[in-house]
Symmetry: none
Subunit: 531 residues, 2 copies
């Protein structure tokens, strides 16, 4: 039985631009367009040329090799012809393969938001589609607020769809713009629409305001639609658009879907799914969602000891898909709920070749439990776990020794009578026979200490030069009778690898110091440094 084709339409660069705190630069857009192209996405909606200078510049040339480069904009305004409408003109000028017009399909909106008549709106749809077809573009029409419009006035909503179809639109996309439609309603409504326009011309554009964007997209496909619009990592305003990453995972890997549908995404490209997702977060400097389906850092992470032994016996018992096919990895978290199975798996994952029964495993487990009782938590602090094990195995050379540090924060009046706060650190480090004293300022005490620690490490300085602190988390932990501070610091270096270290102390500077030095040792081990 041959599979039906589902096309994927990505609007990260247009609808995703509405995400709170997201601002695409031109370079960001180019980079993401390339990621989408390589993933096998069919349509890349690059933005809204004419609406702002950056998008107009982005459409000065086609930015994809295989994907259809698509421009978004509104249907012509009432009272003008399509050829005299500046918005439409901007779309037609854009170097795009396809144009996606957003059209009103809820009569209430036509009257209140557009302040025009239902008939005028239909004419606007018809003429805009025609104008774009006349210029050789493929045309899509996003029927805005379709589901609410259908519930309020089904005949009018359907007439918008039909008008677009009859004018020559290749795709008519039913948009749940408010995000308030539920899956069973999507099923019912898309089924009804598919009696008027064939499903192979229908698309779905869902939002996540009820946590059902992915399910709504799947429901629409079940009801006959053959295009899914969404964004990478579910970016988008309010609660986001349908997450294309999740949908690609589900449609490629779940029984029933994989056999029925072809996404145009190869298995190789699928293996890059996790990488694509992380790259988008990197480009936008957003905290990755570690709980994201398929690609999240925790998507295949098991904590409980009872699960861990079962997973090792047969991963099918606890995993719905194999993490490697989407470029992710299984993680058995080291925790005081785990036991030898967890530790063994974690040791293997970190590259230690210890076998079950090795006496050293019990010693590592004891040390982990001892430190966890003090407030350490090694899940989420891989690099500190790695350094701990290496120490237990006697494989950490005495690279350096911090004999003393002093960190000062002072708030005082400056020369012009302003109150300013200054942070300084002094560090005394022994490296082999050398004793080095370094001082540094910082925007805070931890920053000052970090800079001072890494200012002069003698013969190892070149190896730690490219270390960069990228994230800093603090948690007060009630361990035993006293509160202690748990600090997690995430680092990167020139290689793009990211790792996290942990420090625990009642004193936040002390805890930070532990995490900072652990990271330096980790980097030196990684770099193969020797005494």
């Amino acid at each position: 039985m041959s599979r039906e084709r589902i096309t994927l339409f990505d609007t990260t660069l247009r609808d995703g631009a509405q995400t709170t705190g997201v601002d695409f630069s031109l370079e960001d857009k180019k980079a993401i367009a390339t990621l989408l192209d390589r993933l096998g996405i069919d349509y890349v909606e690059g933005g809204y040329p004419g609406a702002n200078p950056l998008d107009t510049a982005f459409f000065a040339e086609k930015r994809t090799k295989n994907a259809k480069f698509t421009a978004f904009g509104m249907t012509k305004r009432a009272g003008r012809s399509a050829s005299n409408d500046p918005g439409v003109a901007a779309l037609l000028e854009a170097e795009a393969d396809a144009i996606c017009f957003v059209a009103k399909s809820w009569d209430y909106h036509v009257r209140v938001a557009l302040e025009t008549t239902p008939e005028e709106n239909l004419a606007g749809i018809h003429e805009s589609v025609e104008a774009a077809r006349a210029k050789g573009r493929e045309v899509l029409v996003d029927c805005e607020h379709f589901f609410d419009g259908y519930k309020a006035n089904p005949d009018y909503a359907l007439s918008c769809v039909k008008t677009a179809y009859e004018a020559g639109a290749r795709w008519i996309v039913l948009c749940d713009t408010n995000g308030g439609t539920l899956p069973h309603e999507v099923t019912e409504i898309v089924t009804a629409v598919s009696k008027v326009v064939p499903g192979r011309h229908l698309g779905i554009h869902a939002h996540d305001d009820c946590g059902c964007a992915v399910a709504n997209s799947l429901a629409a496909v079940e009801a006959g639609a053959r295009q899914i619009q969404g964004t990478l990592n579910g970016l988008g305003e309010r609660c986001g658009n349908a997450n294309l990453i999740t949908l690609i995972g589900a449609l490629k890997l779940k029984d029933g879907y994989a056999a029925r549908f072809d996404l145009g995404v190869t298995d190789d490209a699928l293996g890059q799914l996790t990488h694509v997702s992380r790259q988008v977060d990197e480009i936008l400097n957003r905290q990755p969602n570690r709980h994201a389906p398929f690609v999240g850092a925790s998507a295949f992470a098991t904590k409980a000891g009872i699960h861990a032994s079962a997973v090792l016996k047969d991963p099918r018992t606890y995993e719905h898909v194999e993490p490697e096919v989407v470029g992710n990895a299984r993680r058995l978290l080291v925790s005081d709920q785990g036991g030898q199975s967890n530790i063994l798996a974690e040791l293997k994952r970190c590259g230690f070749a210890l076998e079950r029964g090795d006496a050293r495993i019990a010693r590592v487990l004891d040390e982990v439990k001892r430190k966890e009782a003090q407030g350490f938590a090694f899940e989420g602090a891989d690099a500190s776990f790695y350094v701990l094990v290496k120490r237990m195995l006697g494989e950490v050379p005495a690279f350096f020794d911090v004999e003393r540090f002093s960190v000062n924060v002072e708030r005082r009046f400056n020369a012009v009578g302003e109150l300013v706060t200054a942070s300084e650190a002094i560090v005394k480090v022994r490296v082999g026979d050398e004793v080095l004293i370094s001082a540094a300022e910082g925007n805070g005490p931890v920053n000052a200490l970090d800079v001072a620690l890494r200012k002069d490490l003698g013969k190892y300085q070149n190896l730690i030069q490219d270390l960069e602190l990228v994230d800093y988390k603090v948690r007060i932990y009630q361990g035993g009778s006293d509160a202690v501070t748990r600090v997690l610091i995430e680092f990167t270096d020139g290689s793009g690898e990211r790792w996290t270290t942990i420090g625990v102390s009642p004193n936040i500077i002390d805890a930070s110091f532990q995490a900072l030095t652990d990271s330096m040792v980790y980097k030196l081990l990684k770099a193969g440094a020797s005494l």
Copy 2:
């Protein structure tokens, strides 16, 4: 037409404990149990007594007033009677209204993970349920991996369900433990099960590994199930459990559901939904998901200018529900009309009798926006908001002025050659005509500064004597181009009242200083101090 009752079962404190990076303290569990109780949740699954000391301690007494306090554990192990099984014994000893047994329902698991026979497993279910019933507990049975088990061997899966039901379980919960089941499969399978056991005894426990946990829960309800299990904020291992916050919003507010089902959650409790969600994140020091349906900070935030004017004309055009009914707020990032409504409500809540149109409201709003742009967030920092408003109204006397502080953390060798870390602070404060210099030690820099600040406040010293710092939270906030540190400090005094203040700065000591001094001013205002 009378509505059918859907019961809500929360497993934040049990399944949610498996979340990467989450560690509940006893106090955390008590606080969350109280939140759940007040929300109107029917069952609060408090943990796994007998599996770890904290959970055993948590079940030393009943922790809810109205909700059924529920203990989780495994069915009896093969080769023992229920009365001789230590796991079951621990459950029966717990101070719980209900016991939720997790049982295998996939024959593959029975053989490979449990290493026993299908019949032995059924006997285990039967005897465990009976034993708990004999002790007067309500019994629920979680059929683990139910959907995968049903797909592999429907007869065996159904026999597990029937066995539990016939032994007297009040609820048999179908668990999608791997999270890989899709909504249309849930519909099909739950429908089939409901022919064997009535839907009013069936529950659904979904995970979000395909982004469909909420939709799966709704699909199960549509197919007849009447209990939903989930967690607050979708906490849980891997990709999390079904998000009860989202489900409460959808079931209370969406047409079709609100008319058909009663959740046992009052409209007043619904109005606390956002607060509950944020409190959970506060307690666990987790970054809130601003894109969360209904309760996220951005859930009703409209960025596009075109939407904003339409929203102002009629919110129904762009919002699927009204934000206020779930205790959230519309954020119009381009208008101050929505802002004034928010501030007015907040002012009233803090006891300021300002009426709409008072010119001072706009000044307060501007100051709040100015500070929020710097990284301040006044939700969760009531006392700082109170002090800010009092300042804007000119009602804060110049109690004291910190002219200078210096905080030092030093790690050095002590007299006996041990490396110790010491923290000291010096503070110079002007109180009226007096200039007071105080020094203090502390277990960390913030503690030292706190002690020094409150060591000698001249004529006000007796008023701040009983201040006690009870909680300290730090979060790195990406505001604009630089990271800033946001510190929240919770205080109490002799009266039992607790309040929270906030400080924001790139420098954590500076941020702490702001929060500490805000709290002192708050206390002095509260005490009616005058110059």
